[in-house]
Symmetry: C2
Subunit: 209 residues, 2 copies
């Protein structure tokens, strides 16, 4: 595998789509897939796909295509999915509970190992076979269970406080659903998932057609 010098963010964001499509192709029993077919299934040009993949190495066979199993394993490896990161969700409201029930996490190789809330009525309940624990014990439990990724699903006003705790407990990354810009130390990885962006941009487009 080529050492990734500088890969575009756009490329990285397409890799999960390739992974998803390869998994489906695998389920269909497909052995070989071309960049053309992959592109057709995703609405992405085949050139783009070949370029994206080529930045990490040579995974295909000229004149033939890509072996589905092999490419899926490789793309999964590039994304680091075989690390089977331990994840925790903080804030078990409607969204947090929905996230806890995503079986996509399992498919992608993540382990949901803890849920946290501050509401006494919620603490002690079980969501998707995982017990909700007191957020007061967040730092201790994150360390004990070696949680790598914290998923923030608390109201915006509490998000920074939760992020601070996660950082000091030593997580490697944060997936943030609170609509707020978080301050974290340089080097901490954070992905923001502000749902209002998608809906608003849809509004923009339908407004002017």
């Amino acid at each position: 595998m080529k050492s990734p010098t500088t890969i575009s963010k756009a490329t990285i964001d397409r890799l999960p789509l390739y992974f998803r499509t390869l998994r489906l192709a695998q389920d269909e029993g497909l052995d070989i897939i071309s960049s053309d077919e992959l592109g057709r299934r995703l609405g992405i040009t085949p050139e783009q796909i070949r370029k994206d993949l080529a930045s990490f190495g040579q995974f295909g066979k000229k004149g033939v295509g890509y072996f589905v199993n092999e490419l899926k394993r490789n793309v999964g490896g590039i994304l680091g999915l075989d690390n089977h990161w331990n994840i925790a969700i903080i804030g078990i409201g409607h969204l947090g509970a929905a996230l806890a029930n995503f079986h996509n996490f399992v498919t992608l190789g993540f382990n949901l190992v803890a849920l946290f809330d501050e509401d006494p009525d919620v603490i002690g309940t079980t969501v998707n076979h995982v017990k909700v624990e007191d957020i007061a014990n967040l730092e201790q439990i994150v360390k004990e269970r070696q949680i790598h990724i914290g998923i923030i699903a608390v109201p915006a006003a509490f998000a920074q406080g939760v992020a601070d705790k996660l950082v000091s407990a030593g997580v490697k990354g944060i997936w943030n659903f609170a609509p707020i810009k978080m301050e974290v130390p340089a080097g901490m990885h954070i992905v923001n998932e502000d749902l209002s962006v998608g809906l608003s941009s849809l509004s923009y487009h339908i407004t002017r057609q």
Copy 2:
């Protein structure tokens, strides 16, 4: 307001962030804000912000900054939020129910006017004061209540079928949470919100630091 010739997708996706920050500034009672301060709050360069805004018109005062109320109203208008689009959610599982409870929709000016599911146990229940109706009546109700945007929160296998019905019933846009590439007629606006992309790209980054 300048007629938007060709605005970058990146610009459009930043507008909701500006809107959100302006709303917060308004709540703080701030009258005027500079591109510098706006940028500081969002982690975006002031030049970028000025460029983005300038593609739609001249909203600021040189030497002064932007009037918070006025700019917020303008950005909201650009995003088409004052159209108060009618929205419906299809698939009231964990995610659909969480979306139905988002009060951000209200803040952004959207009206949640219908919820649909196919499960008889779910039909007839109420989520956030809205009744869940039989998906069999989707097309009729979408027409009757003039629903502009359909939010798809059903399993991937059913998503295309739902999209087809939404299109034939005349929605203007689709916000899709199913991890699948949808086929829709040219001109139909569709925004995909595949949550596994964000988490996987986080995995990519923490894998190589």
